[in-house]
Symmetry: C2
Subunit: 107 residues, 2 copies
Amino acid sequence: MPEPHHVLFKTLADPTRRAIFERLCRDGDTTVAALTARAGVSQPAVSKHLAILKRAGLVRDRQEGRQTHYSAELDALAPLVDWTNRMNGFWQNRFDDLEDLLKRMDQ
Amino acid sequence: MPEPHHVLFKTLADPTRRAIFERLCRDGDTTVAALTARAGVSQPAVSKHLAILKRAGLVRDRQEGRQTHYSAELDALAPLVDWTNRMNGFWQNRFDDLEDLLKRMDQ
DNA sequence: CAGATTAATAACCAGAGAGTTATCGATTTC
DNA sequence: GAAATCGATAACTCTCTGGTTATTAATCTG
């Protein structure tokens, strides 16, 4: 039931959370403190977003002394790409279908 | 401020709404009644979802007598594809960066 | 024209979730 | 060892949104 792309849509729908992920994609390995500095929200808020990103498989964390480094797990986006491709595939199939073509002509 | 991909993530994050969009991609032009039949929610709920999909540019509507036909606007997904590509691009760039390579080696 | 059907809107409700402050455990530093 | 720093968790609040039922406008049908 929980299709792989669903958790991605849910997780990336929040702008703050998506911004954190984008930053990790751009800059790579980054500490929570560094992320908080530019997130525009409190540190606990950032930690919560990171936990959600982690559960979605979008980020990895790595402990180093008292600080936690996070980095993007880019492969995790695959189901999203697959989904958009599938939508495009449906579209293509419908063009091959003569029945549908006729349905479209009389609109 | 409202980046083009943001509205897409927001709109497609809801499973019911995404299911409606998927159905329109698969089956093409469909009436509200037909969509409601399989949506698992009430007709007003479906209408609201369709309104949101429409504002996001993901669907078109067409009046025919007393029924409204909706169809998917597939090009609207482009900003989503662009975004994932951009994330992948960042990833590639970081591999070209020697500084980052070193940073990754000592983890 | 009366009754039925279609879909949008209004008004409302309940749950989710993103934010906050406060706190705590675990480190590092002095 | 005391003080400071880092980040996760707890507890709470407030808003946003997806759902509902009721209603209405518009169209079709008998």
